[in-house]
Amino acid sequence: MAKLALRVNGGNREIESADPDVPLLYVLRNDLGLTGTHFGCGLAQCGACTVLVGGRAVRSCVTSARSVAGQDVVTIEGLGSPDRPDPLQAAFIAEQAAQCGYCTAGMVMTARALLARTRRPSEQQVRQALAGNLCRCGSHARVIRAVLRAASAPPGGR
């Protein structure tokens, strides 16, 4: 059993795995109960499993948990809650930017990374940043509006 020390959503967590190369996705979902991060393809192709590692958007399905030890991992649960959504999540709610919602966490995390490095992105930049996050229901137009809404919010809201 390999022991792994992780820092997730601001807290220190320790897990054990028989396979030292276990992907971060399975640790988050099954060991830490953070099921907001979703399995979509396991191939880094769809974006449903996106989390932040050191502020960068990362596909947790192909990222070994071991490789992110010591870095700050943030999942969708680390942003806000249903009663206290963070401004980006609030923008998704305001725009009703989800249908089934399965891809949404990955969309939010990817957009969060975009807004961290580009405070006021153009629509083109939003489209570019989210090009690798697939949605099969057809929520794309609302998602783009939500990110732009969050980007146009007055600064200081976090």
């Binding site: 992907p23 249903p82 009703q96 089934c100 399965y102």
Partner: protein
Amino acid sequence: MAALSISRRSFLAAGGVLVVGLGLDGVGRAPAQTVAGADRFLGKSLAPDAVDSFLAVHADGSVTLFVGKVDIGTGGRIAMRQIVGEELDVPLERIAMIEGDTALTPNQGATAGSYGIARGGTQLRQAAATARQALLAQAAQRLGRPAGDLQIVDGVVRAKDGTGAVTYGELIGDRAFNLKVDGGAPLKAPQSFRFIGKSLPRPDLPAKVTGRHRYLHDLTLPDMLHARVIRPPALGATLVSVDESSVAAIGGARVVRIQNFLAVVAEREWDAVRAARALQSKWTAGTGLPDSTKEFDSMRASRVVRDQEIAKRGDLSALSAPAPGMRALAASYRWPVQTHGSIGPSCGVADVRADRATVWSSSQNTHGFQATCARFLGLERDRVRVIYLDGAGSYGPNGADDAAAEAALLSKALGKPVRVQWTRQEEHGLDPKGPAQLLELRAAVDADGEVAAWETQAWLPIATANLPNIPLLSLDAAGIPQTPGRSTGLIYQNVDPPYTMPNVNAVVHWIPDAPLRTSAIRAPGKVANTFAVESFVDEVAALARVHPVDSVSAASPIRAASRFCDG
């Protein structure tokens, strides 16, 4: 019905309340989809014509809806609340909703064909109107006033002159209405609508956007095993041998084989994934896939089971013998098979015991699937409970029923709850496909640019009448009998142009086969047919030298039909 209810109660008494990992979220709030303590309603009416089947009014004035139609991401969860809130005059935040649970919700048929609101919603609406009528009558008696002197505001029945009031909770609180749905119960007039017709925020989105919404994929049960199914490398391949020692190094991994149905299970999901990758198995070569480059030629050359006339009117002679000055046009449109491609591969969880089973599925037809599960598990229907939980969005039957059936087979074999998670490759490769469609269109356009004659011919795979379920992969693999056949959805719709044309022939040639399993795929009016017909309208308009948009206006060659207005 009495016998059914008793048997359901004894089922409960035997089973007790199953504790599942769907409790309150981190902030102490129930996820919008699930209702905490829903099992307290077990034993309630499920009759299709009873008010109590559809709703319950509680002592605190809150309301629980029991809805056979499920919300696959399209907003039924708020729409049903709007409909009932309107008829009952109850604020929407006081309404909880249980969906697609065969032990709790009435059978309203599959969630399909865009009929969720049109059929399911109207049933619910009439039940709510019946309940309102009954509550008003009770209040009149309680307050000693004629019903006409009363008004209902937010679940409180008040005398209009302010001399008395009684709440829904006081009138009925958690007791049964014991009423049949009254088709004559008055419905609210549209001009007084408070909720219907408004675009209201969906109650499930805050949890979905913050990662707190519990999907089927997130469900865990005590002692649950994680499974991965090993698929044959080619269609028709059968299992020759399995080398179980190939997974011996993965602690806790076990191999399950039922004839050609092969799976690995483990307590930890990643171990099941690793075992699925490591397992060595030998299969026969199988038949493989037909040549995709010849698919449409095969359809065109296929035996036709029968022709179905969709529209036939006027004189079609211009198609074969155009008058002088007429121009002819022909085009064919090939619509390949479509995967549903749900963004989360299908998942299913099942807990099968000797005398009963619970299956959690994102099936769009939990009641139909309950009957299927009962058949292959060898249980009476009322010993099987199928509970809908959200999967990734579905657009017709995807792999959901398959994954749930596989979980049930494995749970039965192992005596423990089992969760089956499909891979992306399985979902893309093995979900039932939206069928291929071939359309050939012809038109003759006269010198004035009028469509003198129009013809649509469509070659479409025929659906099997009364097919109980799309044939499931695992039952075939495990040698368990099931009804063979095909489901294709309403693929004949809109092969005829929705425009005023005097001379039209639109015919479907139903063909018997399709190369892959098929199922309905959004949208019911069929994208393929509309694409072909509208593309051809553009071609005709180009030939007639008119703009296609103008061409469907009243003053142009292709006049908009009154069909959409007339229904």
